[in-house]
Every structure is written in structure tokens, then in C-alpha cells.
């Protein structure tokens, strides 16, 4: 009997719930923690954000693939996520920059995708039950729901797994591409201040737009692997250190804490997302796993110094525990909070030139409201290089917020 025919796909969660749909992208199996992202645009940047390593990402936006995929919008060298879950996917993209369909791109990078899923039901399940693992099969021979549920239940999840090491670059490299101006194509030439500062950026899964914004602020950026030691980093004679975003459990990123503590003795440091959590850990704090995390482009991040609210791109499943920092006796100030749930979103040290942010001021995808962090970092490094006494909390307090 004829009827609509789709290549079958099945997503099973550890709790036993099963979602059947149509396969796209690569044929295969993806196992990982299921998270959902509420961004309305920018699926390609999400797909190529290394922070999603080890995860199956469900998009709440129902129309995915509309604008295809292009080289300019890749946030890293390839997608690292385990699978992509959508309501509807388009194979005939429409956008002047589109080079390839999403389906073809994912197939090329061996990422399985499932469409025709009641993604809202999936989101509600995760919201109610918390983050859990899932198994996505787009292999027509592997559609047995029970087997997939078992795979999901047996999956190790993110806790305690050092995923940063898996996505980090293997050797150091320099980055000199500048910030995008407008949306016209082509590799943008750097536009940066005359006075330059050497910066070492630890790659735990770094996004290209972070690097572009650092270049724009006048940094000469050397990206180094996650496992780079303090001595190796110092050998590059940096004037500042950046700790990048990245996937998974910050507590599992081993060794880096000591490195950061060493570097913090002499250098100004700025951390984003996983980098922020690592800084918190290095300062003696703890991180906690959130119920289902923050993944989206519409989160309210308040700068406590000014009261101003930036609409932020966020992507994290863990957060720094505010009490733990107080207990550790470090003079650390909480500078930013998420207004939805009050979680810590920004830290600044009251004695050292250190600050960090939980969300993504580099956006891409997401709003540019919080881009001021990069300017703030530049100012802190300038002062520090000039030998002036400067602290993270000092620059946070003197800043005027989004406009500064």
C-alpha cells in the first residue's frame, strides 16, 4: 500500500520515551546527552559550536535548513555534536550565501539528523525530567526502539568526561581574521587598534567569532591546545590569557585548573562559558549541573553593576556555585546573573585582573548586546600592561554596561 515514505529514524531517551521521525544527514548512530536550543536563527553556528560535543541537539524552532549552510558561518572546523533533532528540515535552501543544503552538510560530516519529531514534547520531557541521554539512529537496520533505549540508558553522559580534550586543536596556531562588518561575504580584514597585545587563547572548543572579536580588540592571538601547560603558555610571552568555551563538565577538564592558577599570578585572564567555569574552579569554587541548562539566544543577563540587561546567547549545562566561592575565601564578586533563574553568569576578582562570563558575548549565533566584554578585557589588559593596579572587579565596576 502506497503512502508517504521517509527514511526511518528513531530517537530513544534513557527514560524509555521514543520519538520516531524521518532521517536526514548521515546514516548512523548518535549517542549523547539530549539538550534543546531555543534560538530562532543560526542553526549552522549551533551545529558547528564545539561546545555541543557529546550532545544530541534539538532545535525548538520548527523550520530548519531554510538558509542552507555556508563556509562563512562555520564556528569551527566541523560539527562535533552527536546528532540533530528538528521538526521539519528543508532540502532546498534559500539564501544568497547558501552553498549547500543542511542535509548534504551533515551527511558530509557524518552527523545523523531526525526530522518530523514532536520537538515540543521532547523539550517538555527534558524540562520536566532534566537532562538525560538519548540514542538517535538513522540507520535503517537499527530502528529497534528497545535497543536504542538501552543504548541511551547505558551512555555515560557528560558528567566526569573531559570532552574539551576531544575537540581542542592539536597544535598551536595563530588567528588573525578580523570582525565581520555587516553581512557581505569574503574573509574580513582585521580592523584593530594600533597598540597590540600578545594573547594566548586556550582552546577547549573555541568558536571562531570569539577569536575574531579578540583580534578586533588588538590582540595577537595564539590558540593553544587545552592541555598546554603554564610553562608552555608563558613561553609564548603573552600579555593576556583567554579561556575559551567548550563542551561538557568543567570539573572533568583536568590539569587546567593548576595551569590557570599559575597564569593568574601574573597575567590578566578572561574566560567565556567553560572558560568561566574553569576560572571559578581554579579559584576554589565548585560547579553544579543545571536541571536542563541554558541553550538559546534570548536569555536575560543582568550586569549587577549597572542593572542593565543584555539579551544573551547562552549554551551551558553547568554553572558556578556562588556559595562555593565565598566558602573558598576568594575575593570574587558576582558581576552578572541570569534573571530567569538567578544563576551566576559573571565573575570578577577583587584583587587580580581576572573576570569571566558564563554566556556568549561573541554571539554567533545570538544578539550582540554583550559584546562589551571584549572591550572591557582590552581595557584591563591595557592597564595591566601599563603597570597600573587593575582588577577584574575594578573594570567591571567602572564600566557603563552594554554601551561601554
Amino acid at each position: 500500500m502506497a503512502g508517504p515514505s521517509f527514511p526511518p529514524a528513531c530517537l530513544a531517551l534513557a527514560d524509555g520515551s521514543v520519538y520516531r521521525g524521518a532521517a536526514f544527514g548521515a546514516a548512523g548512530l548518535g549517542v549523547g546527552e539530549v539538550c534543546f536550543n531555543t534560538s530562532l536563527a543560526g542553526y549552522q553556528e549551533i551545529l558547528t559550536d564545539p561546545s555541543y560535543a557529546g550532545q544530541l541537539v534539538a532545535m525548538t524552532c520548527t523550520q530548519i535548513g531554510n538558509v542552507g549552510v555556508n563556509r562563512e558561518d562555520e564556528e569551527s572546523r566541523r560539527p562535533f555534536l552527536e546528532g540533530f533533532v528538528v521538526r521539519e528540515v528543508f532540502h532546498q535552501p534559500s539564501n544568497w550565501r547558501s552553498e549547500e543544503s543542511l542535509h548534504a552538510y551533515m551527511e558530509r560530516h557524518a552527523i545523523p539528523g531526525i526530522s518530523e519529531v514532536d520537538t515540543r514534547a521532547l523539550v517538555r520531557r527534558i524540562r520536566e525530567g532534566g537532562a538525560q541521554c538519548g540514542a538517535l539512529s538513522t540507520d535503517p537496520r537499527q530502528q529497534d526502539a528497545e535497543a536504542l533505549v538501552r543504548r541511551a540508558a547505558e551512555a555515560p553522559g557528560l558528567d566526569g568526561v573531559d570532552l574539551a580534550a576531544r575537540v581542542s586543536c592539536e597544535t598551536p596556531y595563530e588567528f588573525s581574521e578580523g570582525r565581520w562588518q555587516g553581512i557581505r561575504g569574503g574573509v574580513p580584514a582585521p580592523t584593530r587598534p594600533d597598540r597590540r597585545y600578545r594573547l594566548v587563547a586556550f582552546d577547549f572548543g573555541i568558536k571562531r567569532n570569539i577569536l575574531r572579536l579578540l583580534v578586533e580588540q588588538g590582540f595577537e592571538v595564539t590558540v593553544v591546545p587545552a592541555g598546554t601547560s603554564a610553562d608552555e603558555a608563558l613561553a609564548l610571552r603573552p600579555q593576556a590569557v583567554f579561556l575559551s568555551n567548550g563542551p561538557g563538565d568543567p570539573a572533568a577538564v583536568v590539569g587546567v585548573r593548576d595551569t590557570v592558577r599559575r597564569l593568574a599570578e601574573s597575567l590578566p585572564i578572561f574566560g567565556i562559558c567553560l572558560g568561566h567555569q574553569i576560572l571559578g574552579l581554579a579559584l576554589g569554587g565548585r560547579t553544579v549541573k543545571l536541571h536542563f541548562g541554558h541553550h538559546g539566544g534570548n536569555q536575560p543577563g543582568q550586569d549587577l553593576a549597572t542593572g542593565k540587561v543584555a539579551i544573551c546567547a547562552e549554551n551551558h549545562g553547568y554553572a558556578v556555585d556562588a556559595d562555593s566561592l565565598r566558602e573558598a575565601g576568594q575575593p570574587v564578586e558576582i558581576t552578572h546573573r541570569n534573571l530567569n533563574d538567578g544563576t551566576v553568569e559573571g565573575l570578577a576578582h577583587a584583587a587580580l585582573p581576572l573576570f569571566s562570563v558564563q554566556y556568549h558575548p561573541e554571539a554567533s549565533p545570538g544578539p550582540h548586546d554583550a559584546a562589551y566584554f571584549f572591550r572591557r578585557f582590552r581595557r584591563m589588559v591595557e592597564l595591566h600592561a601599563a603597570g597600573e593596579p587593575v582588577t577584574g572587579a575594578g573594570v567591571a565596576a567602572s564600566a557603563a554596561g552594554p554601551g561601554d
Binding site: 525548538t60 524552532c61 555556508n70 534559500s94 544568497w96 565581520w180 538559546g296 534570548n298 536575560p300 544578539p367
Partner: protein, 1076 residues
């Protein structure tokens, strides 16, 4: 920052009558705003001339003025109420322009009234095209090349630079009024002149056309702490060149990469800061070149707009309410999101569905008007639908429109082949969507269709998917195969009706097949946050997915069916009734479930009812909700014809209908049953008959005698109703205007010439009948009741006639077994009362009557339907107010180049205003001012009337002469006036002038005429000859009367105006709720 404590009284200006470009979305915004401000303890003074609004209900403000929206009238209100601040951003362009005028004339300064929300500077920068351009250049944003013209010469100089086609946009007008697209040099001159005349400032912009670029809108909000959020992005299906109000629009934006979207977002934030809108919402439009992503700013509205209403309904974020809170000092992070309860309003909504809005047009109402869509808005309403995908939401939106389409049917009357389709695709018209689908069906390529129409390939690709699926479905023969396709079809939004068409079976059979498969829609919530947080508001839409979030309660509950998209004949009045019913039943402890698909309305606010289903009002969609909710009853008599026409089938499907039974409704609608009823009651009606063919019609007309009034049965708003004077016109009507058939008979009535028409709204609980109001029409019978001005109490009826009307109304209501509201239309001729029609449902005059008598008829009606008696409700006596209330209709003629302004049996008005005063003349005068027909107290009257009216007009004109008016008349009329010893300047009829004698149009254009009195024989030639006279008066803003009855009322009004200037009174005072 918490609320401002330095403010006590806030003046809110509403948007006035419903006109094209400014519809009930401003009732939604105004009522939300007023509610929010009062919740915060402010004293709210509201001014709005539109009685059919929820916001003008006395409980929505501390003082409500249904008074003229002029500087003069506002000044009096300000002097009386002494507000501290004026909030001008909730009442559309009307409120904004009034605020500017009040400021410029020094009224605000004089009384120390400050503006909140937006300051004059910001309004000026956003509205003045030149200032806006400068502002955009300051922040490095591009606009299409343009120049600012104060004269035609200016404009010609500019267009040399910017080129043809050119967009012409007058400054300070609403809905693009006066705007056009000039495709040739010849069109350019007249279009510029038209634009300059339409602009209150006499200026316009001549702009390089970016036709074919993609069009976007962002809804932006800002607070006093300079936090800015984007509430919603909207992408237009129709490319630049079609007014966004006339475009199919989709939320969220679909064809932007994040990089493009964020650039637009940055621009929007920079714009709201640069323009300096202090707080609240703004709407900013952009155009994007599909070839290279280049972006230009199109325009900005520094206020809550039509798109804000759409964005609110599309996201669940209450923009108007939040705008009001921000205006009094709150910041976004201090305001809670009602839907999630836990999170603040300082976020950007994320949506996990697609919203599609399709405009609804009324070109069929305006003979001779071209239905081409341009930069001037012409649609009269819109339907919105929510689906998980664009395909689903598009198909739901189509069936929400109620234009006899249940999907992407092949359009009728299009020539075969592809060549025949191109003109329907190259030029935007209301039916282009269906032409595009047909072209795809006939094998056209997406690329070619994109080049021709400018519609983005993504949308076209979706249409192609639907067309292909349709072909697969059509090929599915046999039950098993159909069942195999059913789920896929439903997930893509196909209605049962459309599937029935494709399969050649009845809708009911598809339904049965579907239910046998257990295939039912689920309901998902609109929650602002894509399910990230729990939603506490049951704002629901249907889709075919796995999980249902309806969670119906076990309470006592009633479902109210709304009125669907606004159209001429069915507008805000019916929404008002539905909202009232919901309020009343909630107060009575009954859960209310609202079903509607009109995003402009108060009924589709998530907090109006206990539960809101944003769904099409079709049998399928309503039955699906009934199955989930199991209400104790459904109210169909408040939403106009839309729910009423579902009544019989709903009842057949076992759905309990509250109030008057569908059988009683049928008894009133079915001509033969109705006649039997009247005979039984001994009531008179104009002699009449029914015709199912042209031959039958001729026979009936012969028996009755000409003129006859002809119309199809079961219509609202006088659709296709005509007065026919001879056999030839009758045959033409039967052949062309309607396609009469046994199922669709045509009603033929003897036309009672010069009768007075009367409308009655009454309530009946089965035992008792109480008349709410008797409205005497100003215009004589033959003018549609919706287009006629009317007065409560009647201004000329004798007490005998009134007694007869009361008795007849009681008999009819009791005999029909009405439970709830009923409307009866009578014609009075020579003291005899004829019943014209009975509608056992809410009528469009219910809000007007309620405001005139100070009793909420719709609320009472709803409670009666739910089982209360009128005695229990304390409404047992007619109320005879001591003041006069006059309702006047407002027309969209100015939007339709070429439309005649003559009134007839086909309704053409879009809205209404209300004038209240202690004396009829003054009340009528107020209503005329409000309707934009400001009567002069001195000057020259041009009189040109048909011969049979001349004797009757003579005495009225004599009165005007006695009031020191100069007279001007066309030859025939002039002779009559002279014979009556009046001094008159003779002018030629249109086109008959010469060197010595100028014609009427020339005199009007020269500004020599202050009032026009023009009646005309109904033969088409006479109408055509004089049309340019009326058109000219309309365009020059010269008040005009086209019926003798209106002249009579007008003369009285002018006398009242001469005697003393007009005062203002609040509704609360008029109803005795507060002391004078």
C-alpha cells in the same frame, strides 16, 4: 525603577473609528494599556469616538469620553480632567497626530501636561521623512534613495535622480494613505498631487523603489533604563511594493541567517535609540536585497502598531500592556512574564511554531476599483493561524479567512497554460497566492516565479511541497491508500473539506475516516519561551503531533465562537459582544473558552477568557475543540454570521447550542417559514417573493411592482444587495451579480421608497422581552443599516409607532423563542410598521446601544443564554435616555481611487463613531465631526439634487440661506431654488462648464465650496456623471450629504453649532455613575 509616583492622572487617546489601516488592534492595545495603568493605581481618562470598543466600556477608565477627536474637544477634556501626562502611543496614528497637534497648539504646555512613552521630538523624527532620513544617516544606516517634496516641481526634480518606478509616500498619514507606486511618468504627476493633498503637512517623499526586495519587520521595546528587546521578527511573503498590512506575513522570519538577522536587530536597536522613543514598543521595517543581502530601513512607527498586535498574538508577549507599564517608569526586568509567572519580561520570546497572517480584502464592495495591491493599504481585516510548520499554518490561515477556500484550490477564471497565469503572478492582487500554487501545479519553476513575483524561493518551495502532496493525495484512491496518506496530509494542514474535494467525498466522510484512525489534533500552548518554562496560560493552537497540552478542566464551562477576520459588515462590534460574554460568564463563575482567529481583537488576548483557542472557525476545527473541551454549551449568536452559519451543523453533530435554538434561527432566516411566522403574528412586511431563477425573479417583480430590493439569502453586510428599477436591470442582476439556484435563492422585496428605517436590539429570556434601544435611521430605507446614521432615542417617530414597534418586537421574540439577543429591522411608512428582517443574534449595534443606555446588553445576553432570567439580572424595563446618541458610519472611500461615495443597500462602511449630547442636533453635529465630515457654520453650499428631491430640499436650503450660507447650484436645482426666491450662483454640471460657467468640480477644487448636497437618480448614467463631484468633495475634505434625510439632520446640526460651541461629558457622568 519602580512606577512613577509623581503622576496621578493619565490621559489615553484611542484610535477612533475603524478605518482601513487602523482597526480593532488599537482597541486591543488601548484596553490592555488602560487595564495595566489602572491596576497600578493611576486615574485614567480615555478619549475615543468609537463606541464599539472594549476600551470605551465605562469600567476600563475612570473617565471615558466618547467625544470628537479634535484639538478643540481634547482641549476641553484636558481643561476638565487636568491630566498630569498624556500617553499617545497606544491609539495608532490618530492618537500620535492628535498629541502632536495638541503640543503644537500649546494646549499641553498651557495645562502642564507632559507626554509619556514618546516625546514630540521622537515622534517628529520618526514620522517626518526628512528628519528620519537624517537620523538614519547619523547612525550609518541606509534608506532607499529619496527626496522630500513640498510641491510637484520638487517631486519631478527628485524623480530624475531616483528613477521610475518610484514610491510616493505622504508624511504623517496612516496605513500608507495617499501612497502609491508610479510605474510611469504619466502616473507620477497625479500620484504626487494626490499624496501632497493627503498629507496633513502637504509633503511627501519620492523614493527609489526597492520593489522585489524581501520585507521584514521587527517589534522592538525599550525601557527607561535603555534596555531594548526584540519581541518578534516578521517576514513578508509578498516582497516590497505591497503594503505590509496587505501582505501575507510570517513569524518568525524564515530566510535570514543569524548574521543577517543580528545585523537587522542591531539596526533596530540603534534606530529606537536614535529616534529617542523613551519607552514602549516600536515597529521597524526593513528591506533586504535577495541578491546580496544589502539592507535598507523602510520606516519606523514610534508606537504600538497593527504589527504589534500581530506580534503579541504570535508570541504571547503582551506588547501594549508592557508598553503602558514601561511608560510609567517600570523597567523590563521589573515586570513579570504573565505566562511563565517566574521569568521577567526582559527577554526575547522564542517560538516553536510558525504564524501566518493573511489579509482579507473587500474589493467586491467597490465597483470600478482595481484590486491591485500597492504601498497603500487596502485590506479590511486579517486572519492569523498557528501551526508547527509554515505549510500547516498557511493552510489553517487560508481556511480562517472565510473566503470559500479550504486550501490551495485552483483559482477559477484563469486561462489555461502558464502564459495565462503570468499576469496574476506579476501583479500583486488578493488572489496571487492561489495563482502561484496553480503555476507550480502547471509546472512553472521556482526561479521563474521568484523573478516574477518577488516571493522568496523558500515560500515557493513550501507551496511546491503542498502542491506535490496534493497530487499524491488526489491519486490516492481507495480507503486503504487514503488512510495511509491521512496523517501526512493533516500534518501539512490539509482540512477535511479540502481532502474531501481531492477525493470526491464529503467532508463528513473524511472526518469519519480520520476519527476511525484515531487521528485527532493535539493542542499546544503559546508560551513565549518555546516550552523552556511551564506555561500557566492556556493559549492553545491545534496541530497533528504526539503530545496534547490542552488539559481541559472539569469546571462548568461555555465556549464562545468569535467572528473571525474583520470584513465590511462584520467587525469589531461582534468581537465586543464575544468579549462581553466572556467577561460576564467568568464573573458568574463559569469557565469561558474563546475560539477565534483574528489577531487584532481583544477576544484573542490570552487573559480575556479562561482559555483561548487561536483556531479557524470552521466546522472541523470547532468540532475538534468541542471534543477536547466538552463544554456545556457553545455560544454562536455573538460573533456575527461566522459562528451562526455553523449552528445547524454543530447541533447536528450533537453540540449543545446555548441560547436561541438553531431552528429558531432558521425560522427567521428562511423566507417561507418567516412569512408564516409574520402571518401568525399579524405583522406586516413589504410584499415579497423568492426567486430561484431569472424567470422567477421577473415574475415576482412583476407581481410586486418596481422598484424591488433584491439580495441573496443568508448574507451579512448587504453583500450583493441592490435596488432594481426595471426588468432589464433585474435580469442583469440575476445573471451576473448572483448565481441564483435552488440551494441559493434570491429574495425579492418591494422597495418601500422614502420609508424610515428603524433598528431594534432586544433581549428575551423566553418569558420576558426588554427592548434595549430603538434606533431611528437618519438616511431613508435603501441605505444599508450599517451605513446609515441612527439615533437613540428616535428623533421623529410618533409614540404610536414606537408602541407598535415595541409590541411587534415582543411578539417576535417570544414566538421565535429567543434566548438572548435579537435584532429587528423595521421600515416605517405613513405610520405603518413593516418588518424587514429579524436576526435572532447580536447585531452590530449592540455596543452602541449599550453605551447609549448604560446597560451592557451583550453581557446580559450571555447570562440569559447561560440560564439566567432577565428578572434575576435586574433588567426588566426599557431605558429611555434623556440624552441623544447618534451613531455615524465611517467609510474607506479615500483608500479606493475611483470608488463612488454614494450610499446604497450594499454596506461599505468600515467603522462607526458616536456623538452624545442633550439635543439631537448637537449629537448629530458631534457624530459628523467624528466621522471626519466637519460641518461648516458659514460659507457656500453647493446644491445639486435630482428633480424629485428638489421640492424637499428647497425648504432645507432656505434654512441654510437664513443662517447666512451662500448658495451655489447646478442649473436644474438653481431654477427650483430661484423659484423659491433664493439667491443662488449657478454652476455647470461636471464636464459641462466653459469659459463663463465653471463646473462643480472646478469650484470644489478651487476651494469655493464648504458643503455639498448631492442626490442622484439611481440610473447608472446619472451616477457616473456626478461621481467626480462626490469624489472631488471627498478628496478636498468638503463635507457632503447624499440623501435628503441626512441634509435635514445636517441643517439641524449646523443650527446647533451656530447657537453654541460643543461641550464634552464623560460616559460615567452621562450614565449617572458619577456626579456631574
Amino acid at each position: 525603577m519602580p512606577r512613577r509616583d509623581d503622576i496621578e492622572t493619565i490621559l489615553v487617546i484611542g484610535a477612533g473609528p475603524i478605518v482601513i489601516g487602523q482597526a480593532c488592534e488599537f482597541d486591543y492595545s488601548g484596553s490592555q494599556g488602560c487595564k495595566a495603568l489602572r491596576e497600578d493605581g493611576y486615574r485614567v481618562v480615555l478619549v475615543n469616538s468609537n463606541p464599539a470598543t472594549i476600551m470605551t466600556d465605562p469600567e476600563f477608565a475612570d473617565r471615558t469620553y466618547i467625544e470628537p477627536m479634535t484639538v478643540d474637544s481634547l482641549s476641553r477634556i484636558i481643561a476638565r480632567e487636568r491630566p498630569d501626562v498624556l500617553l499617545p502611543t497606544l491609539g495608532g496614528q490618530t492618537a500620535l497626530n492628535l498629541a502632536v497637534a495638541l503640543s503644537e497648539e500649546g494646549v499641553l504646555d498651557h495645562y502642564g501636561v507632559k507626554l509619556i512613552g514618546a516625546q514630540i521630538d521622537a515622534i517628529h523624527k520618526a514620522e517626518d521623512r526628512e528628519a528620519f532620513r537624517t537620523a538614519m544617516e547619523n547612525i550609518g544606516l541606509e534608506l532607499p534613495a529619496s527626496g522630500y517634496a513640498r510641491s510637484l516641481d520638487d517631486a519631478r526634480r527628485i524623480v530624475k535622480e531616483t528613477g521610475i518606478p518610484a514610491i510616493i509616500r505622504p508624511s504623517f498619514t496612516l496605513g500608507g494613505t495617499g501612497g502609491s507606486v508610479a510605474y510611469s511618468e504619466e502616473d507620477f504627476g497625479p500620484m504626487v498631487e494626490w499624496a501632497l493633498r493627503q498629507s496633513p503637512r502637504g509633503t511627501c517623499l519620492v523614493e527609489r523603489s526597492v520593489l522585489g526586495w524581501k520585507e521584514y519587520e521587527l517589534e522592538v521595546m525599550r525601557d527607561t533604563a535603555d534596555n531594548v528587546v526584540i519581541i518578534c521578527s516578521i517576514e513578508n511573503f509578498d516582497a516590497m511594493g505591497v503594503h505590509t498590512g496587505d501582505s501575507i506575513t510570517v513569524a518568525p522570519a524564515q530566510t535570514l541567517t543569524d548574521r543577517e538577522y543580528q545585523e537587522m536587530r542591531d539596526a533596530a536597536i540603534a534606530i529606537i535609540r536614535e529616534i529617542g522613543v523613551d519607552t514602549g514598543g516600536s515597529n521597524i521595517q526593513f528591506a533586504v536585497n535577495p541578491e546580496d543581502g544589502a539592507m535598507v530601513v523602510v520606516e519606523m512607527n514610534p508606537r504600538v502598531s497593527r504589527s504589534s498586535a500581530l506580534a503579541s498574538k504570535a508570541t504571547g508577549f503582551p506588547i501594549a500592556k508592557i508598553a503602558a507599564k514601561l511608560a510609567v517608569g517600570y523597567t523590563l526586568d521589573e515586570i513579570r512574564n504573565d505566562i511563565t509567572r517566574e521569568t521577567p519580561a526582559s527577554f526575547e520570546p522564542s517560538i516553536d511554531y510558525v504564524v501566518t497572517k493573511i489579509p482579507r480584502f473587500a474589493f467586491e464592495k467597490f465597483a470600478g476599483v482595481e484590486d491591485v495591491l500597492t504601498t497603500q493599504m487596502k485590506s479590511v481585516g486579517e486572519a492569523m493561524a498557528i501551526g508547527r510548520t509554515f505549510k500547516e499554518s498557511l493552510q489553517k490561515a487560508i481556511r480562517s479567512l472565510e473566503i470559500d477556500r479550504s486550501g490551495l484550490e485552483s483559482p477559477e477564471d484563469l486561462p489555461p497554460g502558464l502564459e495565462g497565469l503570468w499576469s496574476a503572478i506579476d501583479t500583486p492582487r488578493p488572489g496571487r497566492l492561489w495563482a502561484l500554487a496553480e503555476a507550480l501545479r502547471r509546472g512553472a519553476g521556482i526561479e521563474e516565479l521568484w523573478r516574477r513575483s518577488g516571493v522568496d524561493p523558500w515560500f515557493l518551495g513550501n507551496l511546491q511541497d503542498l502542491v506535490r502532496l496534493e497530487a499524491e493525495l488526489a491519486a490516492a484512491q481507495g480507503e486503504a491508500e487514503r488512510i495511509a496518506w491521512l496523517r501526512e496530509a493533516k500534518r501539512n494542514g490539509f482540512s477535511d473539506l479540502r481532502l474531501g474535494q481531492l477525493w470526491g467525498i464529503e467532508e463528513g466522510e473524511v472526518r469519519a475516516l480520520r476519527k476511525a484512525q484515531g487521528l485527532r489534533p493535539v493542542y499546544k500552548r503559546v508560551d513565549t519561551c518555546a516550552a523552556e518554562f511551564e506555561a500557566h496560560t492556556p493559549y492553545l493552537y491545534s496541530t497533528y503531533e504526539e503530545e496534547c497540552e490542552a488539559q481541559p478542566s472539569q469546571r462548568r464551562k461555555v465556549m464562545i465562537l468569535g467572528g473571525g477576520p474583520n470584513r465590511i459588515g462584520q467587525g469589531i462590534e461582534f468581537d465586543y459582544c464575544c468579549v462581553h460574554a466572556s467577561f460576564a460568564l467568568r464573573e458568574a463563575g463559569i469557565e469561558t473558552i474563546m475560539v477565534n482567529c483574528n489577531p487584532e481583537t481583544v477576544s484573542t488576548d490570552y487573559d480575556t477568557s479562561d482559555r483561548l483557542y487561536f483556531e479557524p472557525l470552521t466546522l472541523e476545527d470547532v468540532l475538534n475543540i468541542v471534543e477536547v473541551e466538552q463544554p456545556e454549551g457553545v455560544i454562536v449568536q455573538l460573533g456575527g454570521q461566522t459562528p451562526l452559519k455553523l449552528a445547524v451543523e454543530l447541533e447536528r453533530a450533537g453540540v449543545p447550542i446555548l441560547g436561541t435554538s438553531p431552528d429558531a434561527i432558521d425560522r427567521a432566516e428562511d423566507r417561507e417559514r418567516f412569512e408564516a411566522l409574520l402571518d401568525e403574528l399579524g405583522l406586516e412586511r413589504p410584499p415579497a417573493g423568492i426567486a430561484r431563477s431569472p424567470e422567477e425573479a421577473m415574475a415576482v417583480a412583476e407581481r410586486l411592482g418596481y422598484p424591488v430590493l433584491v439580495r441573496p439569502s443568508y448574507v451579512l453586510g448587504g453583500r450583493a444587495m441592490e435596488i432594481v428599477h426595471d426588468e432589464e436591470s433585474l435580469v442583469t442582476y440575476m445573471r451576473n451579480a448572483v448565481k441564483a439556484s435552488p440551494e441559493h435563492p434570491v429574495l425579492v422585496d418591494r422597495f418601500l421608497a422614502d420609508a424610515i428605517e428603524v433598528d431594534v436590539d432586544a433581549l428575551c429570556d423566553g418569558e420576558r422581552v426588554v427592548v434595549g434601544g430603538i434606533m431611528e435611521h437618519i438616511e431613508q430605507a435603501g441605505v444599508h443599516s450599517g451605513d446609515s446614521a441612527c439615533s437613540i432615542p428616535p428623533h421623529s417617530l410618533t409614540s404610536n409607532v414606537i408602541d407598535d414597534i415595541l409590541a411587534a418586537t415582543r411578539d417576535l421574540a417570544l414566538k421565535l423563542g429567543v434566548r438572548g439577543l435579537m435584532n429587528v429591522q423595521y421600515a416605517i411608512k405613513e405610520e405603518r410598521v413593516f418588518v424587514i428582517e429579524v436576526n435572532p443574534r447580536a447585531s452590530r449595534t449592540v455596543p452602541f446601544v449599550s453605551k447609549a443606555i448604560g446597560r451592557p446588553l451583550a453581557k446580559l445576553g450571555a447570562l440569559v443564554m447561560a440560564g439566567s432570567s432577565l428578572e434575576e439580572l435586574g433588567f426588566t424595563q426599557e431605558i429611555w435616555p434623556t440624552h441623544y446618541s447618534v451613531k455615524e458610519a465611517v467609510f474607506p472611500f479615500v483608500k479606493f481611487p475611483g470608488a463612488d461615495t454614494l450610499l446604497g443597500p450594499e454596506m461599505k462602511s468600515t467603522g462607526e463613531v458616536m456623538g452624545i449630547d442633550s439635543e439631537f442636533g448637537r449629537a448629530f453635529a458631534k457624530s459628523q465631526i467624528q466621522a471626519g465630515n466637519s460641518l461648516p457654520v458659514s460659507g457656500t453650499v453647493l446644491v445639486s439634487v435630482r428633480s424629485e428631491d428638489q421640492p424637499r430640499v428647497l425648504e432645507l436650503v432656505r434654512d441654510l440661506a437664513a443662517m447666512d450660507f451662500e448658495l451655489m447650484a447646478t442649473p436644474g436645482t438653481a431654477a427650483t431654488l430661484r423659484a423659491g426666491n433664493l439667491e443662488v450662483r449657478e454652476v455647470a454640471k461636471v464636464g459641462r462648464g466653459g469659459d463663463e460657467l465653471r463646473d462643480t468640480v472646478e469650484c470644489i477644487d478651487a476651494g469655493e465650496v464648504d458643503l455639498v448636497i448631492n442626490t442622484v437618480d439611481s440610473d447608472p448614467e446619472a451616477v457616473r456623471d456626478s461621481a467626480s463631484l462626490r469624489r472631488s468633495a471627498l478628496l478636498r475634505g468638503v463635507p457632503y450629504f447624499t440623501t435628503v434625510a441626512a441634509v435635514r439632520a445636517g441643517v439641524g446640526a449646523i443650527r446647533a453649532l451656530q447657537a453654541e460651541s460643543i461641550g464634552v461629558r464623560s460616559l460615567q457622568q452621562i450614565h449617572g455613575l458619577v456626579e456631574a
